[in-house]
């Protein structure tokens, strides 16, 4: 529908310049309005933007000199802006040169979408090559070879998909509907399909085909992707992974996490670092862009003519009400349009929260998402989980 008379529709990339308002820093004319933080001229915006990136790294001093950092590059706006920032920061002419060595990891998820985006992936590869940094293309199906039981547990996850259950606890307690779960696992991976016979791609396809809701598909993909990035980066000799998640994206993730019963994982899923989540398995995922908004990224990319490549994902051309994540995205973006400070409020709220079980690491972690366990509800209190199990049991 975007094509009129064969002419390709493309959004205008030239930023809008407002006249008559002054930059809040230097009081020069011709400025950019960015969210709630006032108006800037082009130069001051660049300084402000890269300062935010450096400031968040400074506040969370996890990256040491000469560390190797893998950037999770997807071709999208966020990771492209991050790549551009790093490229600039490593430029010998820069005053404070960044002190780490970067590399790029691109996760190729095309197995999930029957698409003809071969050209686009070529384009992404071209961009990565042009940076001069080492780059790696990792296929999503490789996750199958790494953690075979993750896939199995993925099935369990589907059945009990509202809460991140600790499978061990569940099996011990012999909760009635577990029989149902085991039955389904048997069905999906029946004894004839032994692991050796199935290729990784087949396993992954089978997993995703067996997931019935888009919510669970998106969630499973997100978890698998994080796991793959962390693990692969470790194998390739990196010390950290940089994710491109912005404050807008994190605000969306915070609310969808809450809605999916993953409140306890907020610090790991939306903090600067994902903590001890993948300890022993992979490296830490860091989020240096977490204080920039979507709009700031878009302005930065437009000003710097950063090349981006759009690849379709699970949410592409799906309706708003097709999944919890899509609905939340629509909800947050709608609210932000009317109440611009909502995004930062949500984001800051989550900074002040932590899981109740964080101190007790001995409780172990979930075998699917490696997050903290929040299913030990004790016997002394009324809790939502205990109530849910009771409801299941009496029916």
């Amino acid at each position: 529908m975007c094509q009129v008379n064969g002419e390709t529709f493309s959004p205008k990339l030239e930023p809008q310049i407002i006249h008559g308002k002054a930059c809040v820093k230097c009081e020069k004319d011709s400025v950019i309005v960015v969210g709630t933080n006032g108006t800037f001229c082009k130069d001051c915006f660049e300084v402000y933007f890269s300062h935010k990136f450096r400031a968040s790294m400074g506040r969370n001093p996890l990256v040491r000199h000469h560390d190797k950092v893998a950037l999770a590059y997807s071709g999208g706006n966020n990771s492209s802006a991050l790549l551009n920032l790093i490229k600039k920061g490593l430029d010998p002419a820069t005053v404070k040169k960044l002190k780490f060595t970067p590399g790029l990891i691109f996760v190729d998820e095309r197995i999930l979408y029957p698409s003809d985006d071969y050209e686009k992936v070529k384009e992404i590869e071209e961009i990565m090559r042009n940076t001069g940094f080492p780059y790696h293309i990792v296929k999503l199906e490789e996750v199958g070879a790494m953690c075979i039981y993750t896939l199995y547990i993925g099935i369990v996850y589907l059945i009990v998909n509202h809460i991140c259950f600790n499978v061990n606890v569940m099996f011990k307690k012999e909760i009635p509907f577990l029989n149902h779960v085991i039955f389904i696992i048997d069905q999906v991976f029946s004894t004839e399909d032994t692991d050796e016979k199935m290729t990784n791609a087949e396993k992954l396809e089978k997993l995703f085909n067996s997931i019935t809701t888009l919510t669970s598909k998106q969630e499973t993909l997100y978890r698998l992707r994080c796991y793959l990035l962390s693990r692969k980066a470790k194998e390739l000799g990196y010390d950290h992974v940089f994710m491109g998640e912005t404050s807008t994206r994190l605000a969306i993730n915070i609310l969808s996490n809450f809605s999916l019963g993953r409140g306890v994982h907020l610090p790991q899923d939306t903090g600067f670092s994902d903590g001890l989540r993948f300890e022993g398995v992979g490296v830490k995922l860091l989020r240096p862009m977490r204080e920039m908004s979507m709009k700031e990224i878009a302005v930065y990319n437009a000003l710097n003519k950063v090349p981006t490549v759009f690849l379709p994902n699970l949410a592409t051309s799906q309706s708003v009400t097709s999944s919890v994540q899509n609905l939340t995205e629509n909800f947050i973006l709608g609210l932000v349009a009317g109440f611009p400070s909502t995004e930062m409020t949500v984001f800051r709220t989550s900074n002040k929260l932590h899981g109740k079980n964080d101190e007790k690491k001995s409780r172990g972690c979930c075998r699917l998402c490696f997050g903290a366990i929040d299913t030990e509800c004790g016997t002394a209190q009324a809790t939502a989980l205990r109530h849910t199990l009771f409801s299941e049991a009496i029916n």
């Binding site: 993953r262 009400t321 409020t345 009324a382």
Partner: protein, 344 residues
């Protein structure tokens, strides 16, 4: 072919439970619904034997079902509770007067003593009069703040040990979302508690429906043919809560378990150390718990009585400024009055 009840495997199923997705017959649904409330009451240790419990009754579906189930369970499981109904009359013509009639009918049916307190006797203002002053925006602030205090005052008058309110799972999930969106850490921490009141002088409030879906409450009231009042408040369309409510309803339609999941998320989080929370004080004027020197109800009343109804809705700094001003006025006035007295 009719679907057979999942529990008794005998009768025809009448509804699919929104909570678990199982198809149940009417009798089994009653049984499941009531057992779950009982389970919540027992595991949450909501009541002790011999306590006097006031049920906050508005005549709406939640409180009607609450009064009904608490009475049934109290008899069935011998909680040994002395149940009372406590209603607040906000003074909204065309809404509360009708719903109070429902409460009165319920009182006769369930044979529970009823007390009605009105805003007019407590504060000297009805909601109708307040809305005339403030307009249709922000009036829910007045109603909400006043009702909370009115319930406590009524409960103190009756000498009860606990107040039971009909807040359901949807309400609590909605409040959690609201508090995240507003960044209200202190309330986010408190709103998931099933029993309120760290304050020893306050009367604890309990929420037996904390894990009960709104849909199931409606279904229960419908099948039991309970007499309830189901009109939206005529002054209510409250912008911000409306957003959270619409979002929650959409979430529920995508995945019904989200409501319990949000409560689960809320329960599993606590506030980081070092985050500043408002301290609990006592209002210097009325003695009610408050996070400021003056409680919200007193500030709102002050504004109404001084002809500045917007006081207490905007910034706190303005309130303190205004109060200082009125204090100095009072001082000068009382000085003057004393002078007259002395002269006499």
């Amino acid at each position: 072919m009719p679907i057979i009840c999942h529990v008794c495997n005998d009768k025809k199923a009448l509804l699919k439970r929104p909570k678990t997705g199982h198809a149940l017959c009417k009798e089994c649904f009653y049984w499941a619904f009531e057992s779950e409330i009982h389970h919540t009451i027992v595991t949450g240790k909501l009541f002790k034997e011999g306590e006097i419990v006031a049920i906050g009754a508005s005549g709406g579906k939640d409180s009607t079902v609450l009064a009904h189930t608490l009475k049934v369970l109290n008899e069935r499981y011998n909680y040994g509770l002395d149940l009372r109904l406590l209603s607040i009359d906000e003074g909204i013509t065309g809404y509360r007067d009708d719903s109070l009639e429902t409460v009165k009918r319920n009182q006769q049916e369930y044979d529970l003593p009823l007390t009605v307190l009105s805003y007019e006797t407590l504060y000297g203002w009805t909601m109708d009069a307040i809305v005339k002053k403030i307009g249709k925006k922000n009036n829910c602030t007045f109603c909400g703040v006043f009702r909370r205090q009115a319930l406590d005052r009524g409960a103190m008058m009756l000498g009860v040990n606990k107040i039971a309110t009909g807040h359901n799972a949807d309400d609590i999930a909605e409040t959690i979302l609201m508090n995240i969106l507003r960044g209200d850490i202190a309330r986010l921490k408190r709103c998931t508690a099933i029993i309120t009141g760290d304050d020893p002088s306050g009367i604890p409030r309990v929420k037996p429906f904390k894990y009960t879906y709104e849909k199931e409450i409606v279904a229960y009231a419908y099948f039991k043919k309970l007499d309830y009042f189901s009109t939206e408040c005529i002054y209510s369309p409250d912008a911000y809560r409306g957003h959270a409510r619409a979002y929650l309803k959409d979430l529920e339609s995508i995945r019904p378990s989200t409501i319990i999941d949000i409560i689960h998320s809320g329960e599993m989080l606590s506030v980081c150390q070092g985050v500043k929370l408002p301290s609990q004080l006592k209002c210097v004027r009325c003695g009610y718990i408050s996070s400021n020197e003056l409680c919200k109800a007193c500030i709102l009343l002050e504004g109404l009585n001084k002809g500045k109804p917007k006081l207490g809705i905007g910034k706190t700094s303005k309130v303190t400024q205004q109060l200082k001003l009125s204090k100095s006025e009072e001082a000068s006035c009382s000085g003057g009055c004393n002078k007259i007295k002395n002269d006499l």
